[in-house]
């Protein structure tokens, strides 16, 4: 396989195993580039990329921006909080106005699910989903799977548990798709209110007991409690969540297991994970961030090949 099937990356759901492998192999090459004295290649010098963020982001935005810079692309940054969206401009009008300035690729984050899909159907540029509401976050899932592969050598038959706020998590959905395609066994674990019933349809194991989940797994991907998306109370108090679901040293000691620890960030230190675990030798949280740039370079590079 020499290239991706679509000119957009909207979600993991529509990627096949070969495409994921191609992204990983290309990311390997870019990881080597990132270790050179000059960490830059001219591959995207004819390409203009607009980073359109209707929702806040630190890692994803910086990571995409750095990936674009390392590929020599021209960059346009847009953030809705300081734009005419506040004056009532529609989403499509905003995007079309950006595109008329000769932009080739769009990296879009929005709090509503489906926005990147909607835009991809209405514009000519390549669209990359950088997170759409509670739907998908494909680049995060790819860098997570890539980091697991890097640490454990392979993903097939590995046991991965996703812990915490599943219902609000686009990272969880994209991770489940990606890991299952790569042959892993996936479990989700969290309070009943934060684990939606429909998640069982995706073929994942549901576990309520954090101890059992940790005993089972090779990798624990701990999600952030997304307080900003919780309009109603999903658990009685933060203190109760911490008591039942926080991953800390004592909990890991009690299950006599040292799983690989992951977190997509930003971390609520002391809430879903304690500092002694987040900063332990088994944590690959910072490797995830480092690999994010290589994965996003691979995505941008491969999609740019679609433009003749």
């Amino acid at each position: 396989m020499r290239n991706l099937n679509s000119k957009h990356l909207l979600g993991i759901k529509n990627l096949n195993l070969e495409e994921i492998d191609l992204i990983f192999k290309t990311a390997d090459r870019f990881k080597e580039v990132l270790n050179r004295p000059i960490k830059k290649v001219p591959s995207l010098r004819h390409i203009t990329v607009a980073n359109i963020f209707f929702e806040n982001s630190t890692r994803t935005k910086l990571s995409f921006e750095l990936a674009e810079k390392r590929l020599s692309a021209e960059i346009l940054n847009f953030s809705s909080s300081i734009s005419s969206v506040k004056k009532g401009e529609s989403l499509l009008d905003t995007v079309k106005n950006i595109l008329v300035m000769k932009v080739d690729m769009l990296v879009i984050r929005h709090s509503s699910p489906g926005v990147p899909h909607f835009i991809s159907k209405n514009v000519n540029a390549s669209v990359i989903n950088a997170g759409d509401g509670t739907h998908e976050h494909p680049s995060q899932a790819l860098l997570d799977a890539y980091s697991i592969k890097e640490k454990l050598g392979r993903i097939k038959d590995k046991k991965i548990v996703i812990i915490g706020d599943i219902i609000h998590s686009r990272v969880a959905i994209s991770n489940i798709y990606a890991l299952q395609k790569l042959g892993a066994k996936v479990m989700v674990c969290g309070p009943t209110t934060l684990v939606p019933k429909y998640i069982a349809n995706l073929g994942v194991i549901i576990e309520r007991d954090i101890k059992k989940a940790l005993e089972w797994c090779d990798v624990a991907n701990v999600l952030r409690i997304q307080l900003e998306r919780q309009e109603v109370k999903y658990f009685p108090s933060l203190r109760e969540y911490i008591l039942y679901f926080r991953i800390d040293r004592n909990l890991l000691k009690s299950v006599k297991k040292e799983p690989i620890i992951m977190h997509p960030g930003p971390i609520n230190r002391g809430v879903e994970i304690s500092s002694d675990v987040a900063d332990s030798t088994n944590s690959i949280i910072l490797n995830q961030v480092e690999n994010g740039v290589a994965i996003r370079m691979a995505i941008l590079y491969l999609l740019s090949l679609k433009k003749k």
């Binding site: 020499r2 390997d28 090459r29 050179r36 004295p37 290649v41 004819h46 740019s304």
Partner: protein, 179 residues
């Protein structure tokens, strides 16, 4: 389709030996010289040349592989997208004499992108180019090889087909093909 055989295993060996002698003349004991083979097929020649030179020099010669895909100016216009292969440069290139090795010199664009790639690793003292086949009259940029296995007059529509043992073929065969 007409084919003309340019190299078989026997005369390829002779040419590789001659190129090695030329390298030994210029680089003596290879104290400050390194070899970089270009992906995908230049690396096989780089390996052959290294193993031949090691018959004369006991010191281990440093060798790297470079993939030029990310530095090309034409990768997006290729019919089949070029898939990047591995780059391994396990040494410092600053102040070294770098010998680039490739199988065929055609338009010169690969070598141009290779030089850009190498410069991203540091500032070599000198860059030389060794190619097995130099397709004369097809250059699009002013690049010439320092060491040439064989010069061949070709037109743009002709193709060079390289089949080497390293690629799983029984024998080495390099053909010039008229389309």
């Amino acid at each position: 389709m007409q084919k003309r055989l340019l190299f078989d295993s026997k005369n390829l060996d002779v040419t590789v030996k001659r190129l090695c002698n030329q390298l030994l003349e210029n680089h003596k004991n290879f104290n400050n010289s390194v070899i970089i083979g270009l992906q995908p097929r230049g690396i096989f020649f780089a390996d052959r040349i290294i193993s031949e030179i090691q018959n004369y020099i006991s010191k281990k010669i440093e060798v790297g592989y470079l993939d030029t895909t990310f530095y090309r100016d034409d990768f997006r216009s290729h019919e089949k997208n070029l898939k990047a292969k591995e780059t391994i440069i396990p040494f410092i290139v600053d102040d070294k004499n770098v010998i680039i090795i490739d199988d065929v010199l055609f338009t010169g664009r690969t070598v141009r992108s290779a030089m850009e790639g190498i410069i991203n690793f540091g500032r070599p003292k000198k860059i030389e180019l060794l190619v097995l086949i130099d397709r004369k009259y097809n250059r699009e940029i002013p690049i010439e090889a320092t060491y040439v296995g064989k010069k061949v007059n070709t037109t743009e529509s002709q193709k060079i087909e390289v089949k080497l043992k390293e690629q799983g073929n029984k024998k080495d065969k390099i053909w010039l093909i008229n389309n």
